[in-house]
Amino acid sequence: MGLFTELRDSISRAVDRMFSDAEPKRIGIYGPPNAGKTTLANRIARDWTGDAVGPESHIPHETRRARRKENVEIERNGKSVSIDIVDTPGVTTKVDYKEFLEHDMEKDDAVRRSREATEGVAEAMHWLREDVDGVIYVLDSTEDPFTQVNTMLIGIIESQDLPVLIFANKTDLDDSNVKRIANAFPQHETVPLSALEGNNMDEVYEKIAEYFG
């Protein structure tokens, strides 16, 4: 039964994608906390609409609600693609409010932030199963990509048959190692970039148009 359910769902998703060209694709920006997802979402939104998506911070779980920027028109090679960017909270399997105390936060604020963060992660998982048409998976290229969250998330994305691009972010930092990410997920295309500095954004937009257009 599982096989036929999967087959039916896959065909249904493929048909949906074929006949929904007029609708903007909802592209979820996923990844672990502090990978630079909001910085990237803001970079894309500012480049093509002039507006930002949300505040950026070095404190983990700054984004605690999925935020959507609609109808972002990206033009590349004479082709125009329209996407809705969904910036999601960093996915994790654990949240300890005490981590926030290290960022000079009062206990009440830290507890509230951790509660919002857990709600945000749950919401992000729900979006991934129900409400996105493609995924940009953002990784900090200075960090080891072989984490459980990355392995699981990529597996979940693949099981949904969603198109996915892996962005190796923070290439402006000395410790950046793009090859390590490409080797970790050889079945997917890895695009290096610095969302903060705006490095390699031409290739970023080309790939977005190619994969999600």
């Binding site: 996915v91 300890d96 951790s114 597996g155 979940i156």
Partner: protein
């Protein structure tokens, strides 16, 4: 798993090794409940065959809804990373590609720490509460 209980874990850490056969008969939510109930009791749960990706997604979602300050910080979960070419497309599934089966270790986030992980070895440090 009432038959598996033998005393509490005050003097040690209880490890539940759950066979694939036992999980096969359960719904997704029953699997998640079985795992989280064990982990919230301070046990280390080892699944012979792991969870399907969708179940992993739901496990994260349900874990998040149960996190409570000073009581439950979430879970640590470890499986072997997929080797290259893990893209299980439609064809792969039709051909019976069942590579989602993988040993999985799950424990309370504040009691289990991964020391090393590669494609063939997971080494973890487990502590009492």
């Amino acid at each position: 798993m009432p038959e598996a209980k033998s005393g509490n874990s005050s003097n040690g850490v209880q490890i539940d090794l759950i066979s694939g056969a036992r999980m096969d008969g359960l719904t997704s939510m029953e699997k998640i409940r079985l795992i989280l109930d064990g982990v919230r009791d301070g046990n280390i749960v080892v699944l012979e065959e792991g969870l399907a990706p969708e179940e992993e997604s739901k496990l994260i979602e349900v874990t998040m809804t149960e996190i409570s300050p000073d009581e439950f910080n979430g879970i640590e979960i470890e499986t072997y990373p997929q080797t290259g070419g893990g893209n299980k497309g439609l064809l792969g599934r039709i051909m019976g590609n069942k590579s989602t089966k993988k040993l999985t270790v799950i424990g309370p986030a504040n009691q289990i720490e991964t020391l090393h992980k590669d494609e063939n070895l997971i080494s973890a440090l487990v502590s009492r509460k």
